[in-house]
């Protein structure tokens, strides 16, 4: 699906050689635009709801933002707290992002995270006497497997029965929440404690980065004083490793290439001999595994090292991940940066509430606005509205073949693989990029698809 912009798109090879700068602005511009717009809207919300003269209100908003920043990145301790929220966010965002690459919408990251954490906990409670070097890998594997099953079910239902993944993931989320609540308050309930499990055995928990440093490098380098101030545990490194794995899968393997083609156009993929169904299953299973990993790492890394009832259903991580994956344009580096941003907002929000007396829920309003702005084609719409004359040559409307088209059937615009950076396009869920008038509703159909696959082949 070609995106029509003010400039006609030059051939790929030329573009790649000419302008890295343009590629960069085009990659960063839209997320940045979304974020700035959302922050401005946040100021307006604070100004409306605070008291005093307009000047007072404005300074109240600035104070709130200052606290938001100090609370998230202002000092080492706050940054350490931010990283605690960032770790699971990175992993669930990878989960959402890899599904996006395959043209699938994984809203189920939270449920996959829940079953992952639950299975890791169950393993630890079943064999609490095992040594850490055996127990921790077992718990991690178990959680990834559980997440993979939870995600894989979605993939199977999608590939073989055509069940829409958005609905099945939402349903499986709630099933996961209720089943984990049942297990936490039932078979694995702590004695004399309501609605929570025992804490993990000591050897199944991760040390914090600070204390790990003090026990290794710190023995001959300067020690970190008060390591207990910095709660971030070593699982952040596993999350970073997962980012590298994710980058490798999507850009250096045949599988990564195949899911991208499927994401752009399942029919083209099928004609090219790519095992579509198997890959849809695999990509959802892998997505689930990353989310499951997020669950076990958080359980093992953070106080109180136990499972508590009803936590998963109010935990926003799996849903925040959708915004992160979109904002990060599903690239590894983008996911990292967007996770830091969202994680910072989340932790900084609670700090802001404490010190600036502005409810931390403001960050959810900001987050929603980021989502709106990224999903909506405000920029292309503005461009469209301005110089009418530039759009004289419009493609004729093609005969639509939208029969049975679901959202995921609509090819996704890919810009990360080639160098075909188009304004107004970003890697996101299928169908985010509906472009210029004239070739609209027919975007799911083969003729444009051939276009697309040709272009990928040229790359």
């Amino acid at each position: 699906m070609a995106v029509q912009t003010t400039q006609s798109t030059p051939p790929t090879s030329k573009l790649r050689s000419t302008s890295w700068l343009r590629k960069f602005t085009s990659a960063v511009g839209r997320p940045l635009f979304a974020f700035i717009l959302a922050m401005i809207a946040g100021i307006i919300v604070i100004m409306i709801t605070s008291q005093g003269s307009p000047g007072d209100r404005f300074s109240a908003a600035l104070t709130a933002y200052q606290d938001l920043f100090v609370g998230s990145f202002g000092n080492a301790q706050n940054f350490s707290f931010t990283l605690v929220t960032v770790t699971p966010l990175i992993l669930t965002s990878i989960s959402v992002a890899i599904a996006f690459r395959g043209g699938l919408f994984n809203i189920g990251a939270e449920g996959q995270l829940a079953v992952g954490a639950m299975v890791a906990g169950i393993i630890a409670f079943k064999v609490p006497t095992w040594p850490g070097w055996a127990l921790i890998p077992l718990m991690i594997t178990g959680s990834m497997l559980a997440g993979a099953i939870w995600g894989g079910i979605v993939g199977i239902l999608k590939a073989w029965r055509g069940a829409h993944e958005v609905v099945t993931t939402i349903m499986l989320n709630w099933i996961a929440f209720y089943v984990t609540d049942y297990l936490i308050d039932g078979p694995f309930k702590a004695l004399n404690q309501a609605d929570q499990t025992d804490a993990l055995p000591k050897q199944a928990t991760f040390p914090t980065v600070a204390s790990a440093y003090n026990h290794t490098l710190g023995t001959f380098l300067p020690q970190i004083t008060n390591p207990q101030q910095y709660p971030i545990d070593i699982s952040i490194f596993i999350a970073l490793l997962a980012l590298i794995v994710y980058w490798f899968i999507v850009s250096r393997t045949t599988f990564g290439y195949e899911i991208r083609v499927i994401g752009q156009n399942p029919k083209a993929a099928q004609y090219a001999g790519i095992p579509t169904k198997r890959n849809i299953f695999l990509v959802m299973a892998i997505a689930g595994a990353f989310s499951g990993l997020a669950g076990s790492l958080h359980l093992m890394g953070q106080f109180p090292y136990q499972l508590i009832g009803s936590t998963f259903r109010i935990d926003p991580t799996g849903f925040d991940a959708i915004g992160v994956a979109l904002l990060g344009r599903t690239t590894a580096i983008g996911v990292l940066l967007a996770s830091l941003l969202f994680g910072g907002l989340l932790y900084g929000g609670s700090y802001m509430q404490l010190f600036a007396n502005v409810p931390g829920d403001l960050v959810y309003i900001i987050q929603a606005l980021v989502l709106f702005t990224i999903a909506a084609e405000f920029l292309p719409a503005i461009q469209r509205a301005l110089p009418r004359g530039l759009f004289a040559s419009r493609k004729p409307a093609l005969v639509p073949s939208i029969e049975g088209a679901t959202i995921s059937d609509i090819p996704e615009n890919d810009k990360n693989n080639g160098g075909v950076m188009q304004e107004g396009a970003l890697t996101g869920p299928p169908g985010v990029f509906r472009d210029s008038p004239g070739e609209n509703e027919s975007s799911g159909q083969p003729s444009t698809a051939v276009d697309d696959s040709n272009r990928s082949a040229e790359d």
Binding site: V45, T49, F105, I107, L157, R161, G162, H164, V166, V167, T168, I170, M171, L172, W174, I175, Y178, V179, Y182, D185, R313, I314, F319, I322, L326, P359, D361, L362, V363, Y364, I365, Q367, A368, L371, F372, A375, A376, E377, F378, A381, A397, P400, I402, E403, G404, A405, T406, I407, G428, P429, P430, G431, V432, R434, D435, P437, G438, N440, E441, G444
Partner: protein, 315 residues
């Protein structure tokens, strides 16, 4: 033992009254979903529209001391959230799932934010009886054993919901307006050619869905609970979404699904004596929906142009 309890529970009017009440609560957002998706706009934002409706309903009822204003406020609030979803997804071609999700997140953030700011962290007080949606008692009919409390002693919104349900079914399948809505959802080009304003129809459908969801929010906060709590919808909007699919995008089908889900919900709190965990019983609606999706009860096929923005050939 189990069956004894089950039969006792199944025979109690209390269970069926609660079932119908839940079903009425779910059917309003479910109808919102049906109307919206039939017109070709994917809508997973019922949760957010309900929550906003619940909050604005309670606050405006408290502010004006008037139930009617409260309900009106709730419906308008739901409509405004729907309008945002409509603008973003119809005019700006947003991915409608992302947009719906953003509405839900925004609603949660906004209601929590305003709840803290407007009540100084005190929370909303319980509504006085005069500010709650009344329960309608149908004179002597209410005294009929079993049927009386189940059918003739329900909240006023229950009866409103039934009327809206039947009206929606009639409008969608028996009138010109319904034909247009379905045409826009199935084949917007054809509808456009025939002179139907595709975007306008979609706008109206999404926004009326917002009104219905807002009304459901008012029912929840001002009828059932009598108070507003943070995130009080707790997934009801998503169950309604499940009902839309389970009911195969038909109003009556969705209504039937809501009855089943309502029964599941009512049972889950009443079967604790049998030793079955209410948590496990609560998974029932979701499992049923997946089974429906997998096609064991016939395939669910969404409207053909569902989720695909339409641009009238603007040149």
């Amino acid at each position: 033992m189990f069956f004894q309890v089950l039969f006792r529970v199944l025979g109690s009017s209390d269970l069926w009254q609660a079932t119908l009440q839940f079903a009425a609560l779910l059917v309003l957002p479910a109808l919102a979903g049906v109307i919206s998706e039939r017109s070709g706009v994917v809508n997973i934002a019922m949760e957010g529209m309900m929550l906003t409706g619940a909050y604005v309903g309670v606050m405006s009822a408290l502010a004006t001391n008037n139930v009617f204003v409260g309900v009106l406020g709730a419906m308008i609030a739901g409509g405004v959230m729907a309008l945002i979803h409509a603008v973003v997804s119809i005019n700006f071609h947003a991915n409608q799932i992302v947009s719906g999700l953003a509405v839900n997140i925004a609603a949660l953030g906004l209601t929590n934010y305003l709840l803290l700011v407007q009540t100084n962290g005190q929370g909303v007080p319980h509504l006085a009886n005069a500010l709650r949606l009344p329960i309608v008692t149908w004179g002597p009919l209410a005294n009929i054993p079993f049927l009386g409390p189940v059918l003739f002693q329900q909240n006023i919104i229950f009866y409103v919901a039934i009327v809206i349900l039947i009206a929606t079914q009639f409008i969608l399948f028996r009138t010109n307006v319904g034909l247009r809505i379905r045409a826009v959802g199935e084949h917007p080009q054809a509808a456009d050619t025939a002179g139907v304003n595709v975007r306008l129809v979609r706008y109206l459908c999404v926004i009326s869905g917002g009104f219905l969801s807002g009304l459901a929010g008012a029912f929840l906060a001002m009828g059932i609970a009598g108070i507003f709590n943070s995130n009080m919808t707790a997934g009801a909007g998503y169950i309604a979404l499940a009902a839309v699919i389970f009911g195969k995008y038909n109003p009556l089908g969705a209504g039937g699904a809501c009855l089943i889900f309502g029964l599941g919900e009512a049972l889950s709190t009443r079967l604790q004596d049998t030793g079955i965990s209410p948590n496990l019983l609560s998974t029932l609606p979701y499992i049923l929906t997946i089974i429906a999706l997998v096609g064991l009860v016939g395939r669910t096929i969404p409207p053909a142009a569902d989720g695909i923005p339409y641009d009238p050939g603007s040149e």
